[in-house]
Symmetry: D2
Amino acid sequence: MIIVMRKGATEEEIADVVERVERAGFGVHLSRGEESTIVGVIGGDRASLEALGSSLEGHPGVARTMRVTKPYKLVSREFHPEDTVVEVGGVRFGGGEVPVIAGPCAVEGRELYLEAAFAAREAGATVLRGGAYKPRSSPYTFQGLGEEGLEILAEARERTGLPVCTEVMDPESVPLVARYADILQVGARNAQNYPLLRALGQIDRPVLLKRGFGTTIEEWLSAAEYILAGGNSQVILCERGIRTFETATRFTLDVAAVPVVRQLTHLPVVVDPSHAAGKRQWVAALARAAVAAGADGLEVEVHPRPDESVSDAAQALSPEAFRQMMDEIAAIAAVLGRRVP
Amino acid sequence: MIIVMRKGATEEEIADVVERVERAGFGVHLSRGEESTIVGVIGGDRASLEALGSSLEGHPGVARTMRVTKPYKLVSREFHPEDTVVEVGGVRFGGGEVPVIAGPCAVEGRELYLEAAFAAREAGATVLRGGAYKPRSSPYTFQGLGEEGLEILAEARERTGLPVCTEVMDPESVPLVARYADILQVGARNAQNYPLLRALGQIDRPVLLKRGFGTTIEEWLSAAEYILAGGNSQVILCERGIRTFETATRFTLDVAAVPVVRQLTHLPVVVDPSHAAGKRQWVAALARAAVAAGADGLEVEVHPRPDESVSDAAQALSPEAFRQMMDEIAAIAAVLGRRVP
Amino acid sequence: MIIVMRKGATEEEIADVVERVERAGFGVHLSRGEESTIVGVIGGDRASLEALGSSLEGHPGVARTMRVTKPYKLVSREFHPEDTVVEVGGVRFGGGEVPVIAGPCAVEGRELYLEAAFAAREAGATVLRGGAYKPRSSPYTFQGLGEEGLEILAEARERTGLPVCTEVMDPESVPLVARYADILQVGARNAQNYPLLRALGQIDRPVLLKRGFGTTIEEWLSAAEYILAGGNSQVILCERGIRTFETATRFTLDVAAVPVVRQLTHLPVVVDPSHAAGKRQWVAALARAAVAAGADGLEVEVHPRPDESVSDAAQALSPEAFRQMMDEIAAIAAVLGRRVP
Amino acid sequence: MIIVMRKGATEEEIADVVERVERAGFGVHLSRGEESTIVGVIGGDRASLEALGSSLEGHPGVARTMRVTKPYKLVSREFHPEDTVVEVGGVRFGGGEVPVIAGPCAVEGRELYLEAAFAAREAGATVLRGGAYKPRSSPYTFQGLGEEGLEILAEARERTGLPVCTEVMDPESVPLVARYADILQVGARNAQNYPLLRALGQIDRPVLLKRGFGTTIEEWLSAAEYILAGGNSQVILCERGIRTFETATRFTLDVAAVPVVRQLTHLPVVVDPSHAAGKRQWVAALARAAVAAGADGLEVEVHPRPDESVSDAAQALSPEAFRQMMDEIAAIAAVLGRRVP
């Protein structure tokens, strides 16, 4: 069960609720968010939880109590029926618009990144992407430029006027990355890195949470719950393909996750067709499929000269191919009464 | 290696080629098709195959020789660069049109099926579907009406003017089903039932070949090769979802298979969103995604009163929901310069 | 629900039960087995089924009635608590013995097969294997010797005194294969070929039913139910690896299927480590794991000169490697109080 | 390519090599280990790498240069042909012994944990396990006792004399956990958490690295490479089941990973049958299979009263069941010439 405190609940009210929960023999998990404080109740059988819930109805400072049957709760549409809109620098994820995040896989250098950023904006991107910290399978491959990459991203934002999205890989780096980035991205390999998710629950900045390639939809939403339970409800989900037996594509895009997730949660869901396809000739088809399925946005790899890319070269679109993709998805979004900004 | 004989090659010419191949120490696999006879060469290393190939260039009756590096050949786009169009009663799969096959999962009875058929046609379906023979996991569930079902399908075709598509489950039944059906469907569970595929290679009737839920794209195309190698090139491929760890949906629709397969083969590829989703609320989203990805058609379960369906009730669309889906996919097809007939 | 008739139930008694079921508004699925006739009741809600069940308790000819909650019933341990022992030419699967079926993947020729058969027997095999009909991904590769292969198998049995196990691929061939083979094998690709399974339900000969590489344990047991429902309860299950994202091995051996299946069913379960591993250097480790997990036998590919094998060359053991494997599994079986005959 | 410096290479020698690599136009990744410093060369085509490699042969301070074709190198058997033995408090992983790590999933409290620890030791465990930090899908479930849990583990070690193994979830906690634990465990969800792996490369303490449930064997070994590249070669690999379509078990134990990994790497590999099975009745069968396949140890959940466990209750063995399992695996290990200490 979770106990949602009223927005202005006092410390005394919170302490009183915690004490009552503990006195009743339960454990307590306290989440202090900007919007509200949530008292998670740990342990207990159905009957005792119901008794506790009843006793707290109308208690000072308590907004409501809810039984947790799914592993996630704040994330669920039952808890929050209307779509959440995550707004970043004037770009809206989740309100009928379909923004596209684009740019190179990694920030490889200043000149190249700025060239890529302008090309992406020119072709219709409204958010820039680019990794300063890269989770790479091998320790001997390019691992990103680190803070230097963050500075390049900041300069690109300055000069293009577009917000930037970049990956953060460990809790300690969250404050640093949050100083530079407009959206903090959690990569697939960290999709269940709970200390990192907790750290992201403490900041007031949007988070793009990729689904792990081995995680179920339920686990993915539960991972998002860690961020919301910490008090940060600006979460954008991102489907990017799962591991299956098929090897023709790099991963198998689970396009059905889009309507499934939109039914289960109020959070916006975007799709990364680049990592799923793994080969650029299939990226546009997956992008179109994602928008047609109802995705609230896309994240796409674009590179001025894809074959020169130091990571994931095979899957980056050229600016020309990206522009054509943008035209197609704009028309498809319109069919669904949506708009690519 | 395969040796493709000219269309009018004589028996003597064929026999001569076979003899030369055998004399060179290879095994022979002879496929007599309506369009051409193919001499498959079994065994041998690269060098000896090349020598054999050179010696047969320009030989009487020989159209060409080809090294087989993939397990499929006639199916590949290298072999036949233009799109194959499979035409059934005026409906064209593969030529820029996006026809929709619709109807109940199973033919449950005459009245109900006719009602469903008219409703499907009314909402825009151009081919009817319905199983007379049902492959069911349990031997104790409804297994289909058999020939009586085929007769009902024939009556529905007569009265609606639409061609019908129905499943065949074993080689022996091919002639019977072919007497009634316009398209013979191979279900996912028989996707690698080679005796059945061989039998379908011997008929002059389109085959809709579903991908097995555990088969790779390469195996799927190789299965189609069995039909083409037998002489029947009217094959429509159908992606219907694969087995993965995700359980929110019944199967995971591999929407990327559409552009991948369209690159690898000249055969049309359609998508069955119903079996992939397993729940009707997600079917339309998957149908839109499939058309946006470039599918050459759809196969959708529609039932006048879905909750009364004896099989797969949860995934059938009502006629109203189906009509709305049709409107959406028609608009998306138009974006790609295609047309839902 | 299923109604199990007594062993000697008369035609009148059966007809009477069928009539009562139909009069109550249900469909009927009749399975006439050698051991007993089973009346499957199709359709109906819980309440009406219970009413029907009660009304048939003690009815003439009726042994018992059972609610079907799983898709399989005769196969389940609830229905038949003791282990089923399938005996073939003195070899017992399922009674604490761990026999090994061995031989080349395919029967490639008389001389070679006889050499392989003697080598396998010499090294401890108690059943011979070898495919006369081979389900191959490509129509252009060796498809087996057909009836000639069956004759070679029969000669090998004659000369070695060991029973033989070979694959059957379509219902029409069942009588022919049954004339030659002691165990009829259903391959992974035909694991849900229901017409074939039905045909095998009609014969009085053991069937080795491989699990499909994309089928769940529940579907596999349900496939076995088709054979038992037809009246043939001599079924040996065979786990041979499933499709997963891991590509180091050809398939992923689901070794846990052994204890799971032994809990769910009374049928013996054997393991094929050769197809799972796909490379011979890992076959013995998987064989040991299977026996340690409680498998009731193994099916292993052995070839006198593995590198010359025309199919699956990479996974066949040499006779020497096979002998060493036999020594190891015999010792492991002994740890579990079992015996490799 | 990687350049392995001699053990006593001076700072000047290292700096000289780095300079030469950079002057040749390559990037540099420097790993300073206790055993040796490794200069990773980033970028470059085959020809220029070979030229660089030749020029550094025999260079002062350089032990050898190696082309990196796999993403991992120090981990590979080519690099280090003999088995690595990881020794912890007298227990040896990798040298023909098969130690068993056992204990409750989580440290739930002092009394209970000590009881469990003695029971585990009594039944044959030689290392204790227990989570002080628990990665849980839901933020509202028990997350572990934290440092209090570590103190309990230390007390258990003190009193039982057995070393303890416990999970660490983020780089910042590594020094704290390393103060208490003998083996630091990386859980499946952090299998590709590279900052954590880097931090573990900096310590002089054994690491048990679980395979991610969605990661390939190659990715798993590459993750280990991060630790070795940092200078810590005391890594124990742990297979614990992967995600597949089968739902009867919690995960699918990839038992073949044992022989595959033992061929590819010199590091010891143990198996966790508890998380794979997910139900206690199948744990012993998987444990036996693992040892029979050649595992260098096991990690098993044991709880004095399994049904009272606050996490993963369904999969913990009782001390009695654990003891029986120990007897069986000791006998199986003996068959392979190995010994359960």
